[in-house]
Point group: C2
Chain length 376, copies 2
């Protein structure tokens, strides 16, 4: 938690649940990533947190943007981004969304199927397109692989086809999974797609761009490698694979830029035991899986939690949300421990919750409004 957030929470005591996010930390993370990978162009993954103050700060820093929908394209433009600085990175786009993005000046699009390519040729003619390749997601806490990407063989045919359709066969992309803690996954993926660059050059198509996706991890409850380790591993692999004929490099960080800039302040609604013999206490908060903490599904993302009683004796807990839904349990098997003194009405903090929280929140499940947001 940054000193600015600590001060805001102490002075304002904002109603819970809420997210408090320090935009200066966003800038710090952006600069750290740029320093670690100076040759890469950063396209911020807007879906991680599309709040206007974040986008505006990133526009000022020269960031580009990876949009998942036309609504996200619009949010970037409203924040001052030039349309050339926006990539429409979702491989699944409505025709109406492609048309509107193209009309707004967006000229860079992702795809992973011939069907999508044909939609792009028709509704965004002449645009730069890049094909997403399916790679291993081992090492990622929030893997993505089954839904997106195609094989290297299919990608080859699709890039040839892109040219025939009057599109600009710009490059390739992959995604190693979100909250990826292994640098080796990037190295393996780079080696894999680099061969396709060579192969397509021989077939007469000169790709110019490699999009390495995002996935760079944030420190949650457990330690993760620093961003420099990823920068070094990636540059090493790029040089191995491409020598000094490096293509343009694109990265699409979301979590890394905003997660640790935010803290969710929540209230303990109830601390109880199933029965007197059970040592595990159930701690119910006023935010849960349907109030924004969707990434606790399967206990995938394990947030660090602090309380007013830290330092005192702790005991094992299960942690759940405030709704009547049995699926609204955050942690039951991840060995969380919280102070024995914790009680109803206490305020607790969930750290590094600046990414993938606010927009996930259900609009009104069980009648609860989405969490409030404070950008400071």
């Amino acid at each position: 938690m940054t000193p600015k957030i600590a001060r805001f929470l102490a002075e304002q005591q904002p109603a819970t649940p809420c997210l408090v996010l320090d935009v200066d930390r966003v800038e710090g993370n952006f600069r750290a990533l740029r320093d670690a990978l100076p040759l890469a162009q950063i396209y911020y993954a807007v879906k991680a947190n599309p709040a206007h103050p974040i986008l505006e700060r990133l526009v000022g820093l020269g960031s580009r943007f990876d949009a998942a929908s036309f609504e996200e394209v619009e949010a970037c433009l409203r924040a001052g981004a030039r349309p050339e600085a926006v990539s429409f990175g979702n491989t699944i786009k409505k025709v109406s969304a492609i048309r509107r993005a193209f009309a707004a000046g967006v000229s860079m699009y992702a795809f992973d199927s011939v069907e999508e390519l044909e939609k792009l040729a028709q509704h965004a003619p002449g645009s730069r397109v890049y094909c997403r390749i399916l790679v291993e997601n081992a090492g990622a806490d929030w893997p993505l692989s089954r839904k997106f990407g195609t094989t290297v063989e299919t990608a080859r045919n699709l890039m040839l086809r892109a040219g025939e359709l009057g599109l600009d066969p710009y490059g390739l992309s992959f995604h190693v999974g979100s909250q990826q803690t292994s640098t080796a996954s990037y190295e393996a993926a780079i080696g894999r797609v680099a061969m396709l660059f060579t192969d397509l050059r021989e077939a007469g198509v000169n790709l110019r761009m490699l999009n390495l996706g995002g996935g760079f991890p944030t420190r949650y409850r457990d330690e993760v490698p620093g961003i420099d380790a990823f920068g070094n591993a990636i540059m090493h692999a790029m040089t191995e694979a491409f020598g000094n004929a490096l293509p343009e490099m694109v990265i699409e960080p979301g979590r890394f830029i905003v997660a640790d800039a935010g803290v969710v302040s929540a209230e303990v609604v109830l601390v109880s035991r199933r029965s007197e013999e059970q040592p595990v206490r159930w701690v119910y908060l006023d935010i849960g899986r349907f109030g924004g903490l969707a990434e606790t599904e399967g206990e995938a993302i394990r947030y660090r939690i602090t309380t007013p009683h830290d330092g005192g004796t702790t005991g094992p807990v299960a942690i759940a949300g405030p709704t009547c839904d049995g699926a609204d349990i955050m942690y039951e098997r991840s060995n969380y421990r919280l102070p024995m003194a914790l009680t109803c009405g206490d305020r607790v903090e969930l750290h590094s919750t600046g990414a993938y929280v606010t927009t996930y929140a259900s609009q009104a499940f069980n009648g609860f409004a989405p969490l409030a947001e404070h950008y400071i």
Copy 2:
């Protein structure tokens, strides 16, 4: 799909994704359940769908209401419900919510721990309280058991304590899990809690009410037993357990009342194959797990899907939502088949989506607005 919904979709062609819900069907379901269990008082589980036209219709039919939050209490009162007809059925309540509900005249509260009981004694003095007991959820497609309920032994102590604290020890409740397809689960639970009625009577506490929860199933893709089967099984078990000294019976149906009254109309955004060798097509819709279809988590609830090409040759599909999230997959292992002719831009219908869809929808994940709602 009711004829009224079919006509509305054909004539209005509303923008997708949207829910169209026939309020007459809600009335029909309410009446069918009342006929199947005439001795039970129906408390509609507002969380299933809190839309004003639904609540208003149910108020007119004499329904009572099971609210999960103070916001849901308010929604009931706005629709014309008397506060005495509202039960605050969430066992996890903020002190502020208890206070506001009590001030509004709500006098019936659930709990399952001594901590919650003490909150109720302090902030809703003299109220009728009922204790939720943990029972088996086998047979439920959406089980609830780990988060709620206490043991019979603890419940006994809690009901004695309720009287000491000046509360009215009104009854017991259980929940056999949502979309419960086995009548035996109700029978087993009734037998279990009935013994506690006797036991407490001997200890000087006369419980007056048994809350059987909800869970009555809707027909989704697969057949389920009719509501009369549940009515018969429950009445048989009640008579076995209580003879002719039946306590007041409360049921809290949500899904059964509203699910099959609603249809989600969605658009196919993309149909593609991973590679030419793969027979499975990926069908991407403009609604997914984060757009309202949260109950497809783990492929638990399997909606029936119709398309404009029904009757033609079908092939295996995986079905996913429109976001960039790899977890936004509805069905991959449930052997769905859709017509080979299905293509981008087609409108499809997801049936029996009137329950647990609208409020679950994320407020803006990936920039997508929650689905529109039409009550007709």
